[in-house]
Amino acid sequence: METINIFVRAIFVDNMIFAYFLGMCSYLAVSKTVKTAVGLGFAVIFVLGITVPINYLLENYVLQEGALTWLSPSFATIDLSFLSFILFIAVIASVVQLVEMIVEKFAPALYGALGIFLPLIAVNCSILGGALFMQERQYVNIGDATSFALGSGVGWLLAIVGIAAIREKIRYSNVPAPLKGIGITFIITGLMAIGFMSFMGIEL
């Protein structure tokens, strides 16, 4: 139950875009058409779903204070958490590279759909943000961490597909010239975020 609760909260209440503004750069840059937005959204779910569990294991068996006791009891006082930024980003960059190569080799159709987005994702704030939130919130097991990662990914997909659909339609509207493009996108995102705030306090 807790796992499902974490999943739902990550989609609606702690939405990556509307509550924390993570991954805004690609959100604004790639949301011109629904098709590409869907592609990028699935790539984010995919990468989050892989990197957060890996980083969870790293955090719990290497970085945390006392995490190295499985090697030797004398390591109980070692705290490597100051290395977490560099390790997390290294995991993300290498996983993205690996995933890109594997997908290209074994699933060319999927590569055609996601390929161009994968390199973009290494520097997407929402991926590193997912890892850092996982570290801060101290999930009890890897299942909860994974469900948080997938939920955040789905929330991100929802947000980018929503804004892309609105931007496709708004092309036919008479927006004041200085607001065209990025300006109106900011304001619409703000309004969408106000809408998402009504989910606040959801508990399953």
């Binding site: 509307f18 509550a19 924390y20 503004f21 993570l22 991954g23 805004m24 750069c25 604004l28 840059a29 011109k32 100051f82 290395l83 977490s84 930024f85 560099i86 997390f88 980003i89 290294a90 960059a93 290498s94 390199p119 290494a122 520097v123 997407n124 704030c125 991926i127 590193l128 943000g129 850092l132 939130f133 801060e136 092309r171 004041p176 010239a177 200085p178 607001l179 065209k180 493009g181 990025i182 300006g183 109106i184 900011f186 304001i187 995102t189 703000g190 309004l191 975020a193 106000i194 705030m197």
Partner: protein, 235 residues
């Protein structure tokens, strides 16, 4: 001379032939001033939005964040620019990430030691400086192809362009959201006089919530593009 010039690429060739530039030539000055206005990283290049929106609830946080980004950008740009001829282009993103990540670890440890409560409130956003698009964007677009000094200037300009937007947004949010700005050491400085509250004025709670930042940046973009119609987008 010619050997070296062919090695470092075309952009360098043009520079090598020119007579020595003065340290703060008009071109170098523009590197700093352009990102403050018509080439602003946030409102025009639309980079680095993530952190700009999330940490602008309080002026203190915004200032600490801007200073951190300023440090990381100047040091990082200079380093990447010094390394630019040694980095193989296939793995350049990873090399750049490692440079930024080490600098951010430094910042994060310093903040935890000297400003623990602000570090607590900034939480994950200090770590997210690593993936701040302005930093990676400027490394890619400028530091990888230019000498250290212009790169440092370009970094300064962009970080300051980022900083002023952050400070403006946070001032608006804090003044209208809580009626007062809290400064470290000074305490709360009230901006909305007591008589307003007696006359029925309320603090605008929306300003404290996340969506307000988006709306304020939208308005800044609106004002900027109204003043300079050349920036208006086609679409």
């Amino acid at each position: 001379m010619t050997d070296k010039a062919t090695e470092v690429g075309e952009q360098e060739v043009r520079k090598e032939v020119l007579p020595r530039e003065p340290l703060f030539s008009a071109k170098n000055r523009r590197l700093v001033t352009d990102p403050l206005g018509d080439d602003n990283p946030i409102t025009i290049q639309v980079l680095g939005i993530c952190s700009a929106l999330a940490i602008t609830v309080q002026v203190q946080q915004a200032v600490v964040m801007s200073l951190s980004v300023l440090f990381v950008m100047i040091a990082g740009s200079t380093m990447v620019s010094l390394l630019r001829n040694m980095i193989p282009s296939r793995i350049r993103i990873i090399v750049q990430l490692v440079v930024v990540a080490s600098l951010v670890i430094l910042i994060s440890e310093v903040l935890k030691a000297y400003l623990p409560d602000i570090a607590e409130r900034l939480s994950v956003f200090i770590g997210l400086i690593i993936t701040n698009c302005i930093i990676m964007g400027r490394f890619e677009a400028f530091a990888m192809g230019n000498k250290p000094f212009p790169s440092a200037l370009d970094a300064t300009g962009n970080a300051l362009g980022y900083a002023w937007i952050l400070v403006v947004v946070s001032v608006v949010r804090e003044v209208f959201g809580s009626g007062a700005i809290s400064f470290p050491g000074v305490g709360q400085v009230t901006f909305i006089p007591e008589s307003f509250f007696e006359a029925g004025y309320y603090n605008n709670n929306l300003m404290i919530l996340p969506p307000a930042a988006l709306l304020i940046i939208g308005v800044i973009i609106w004002v900027q593009r109204t003043r300079n119609p050349k920036l208006v987008e086609e679409a």
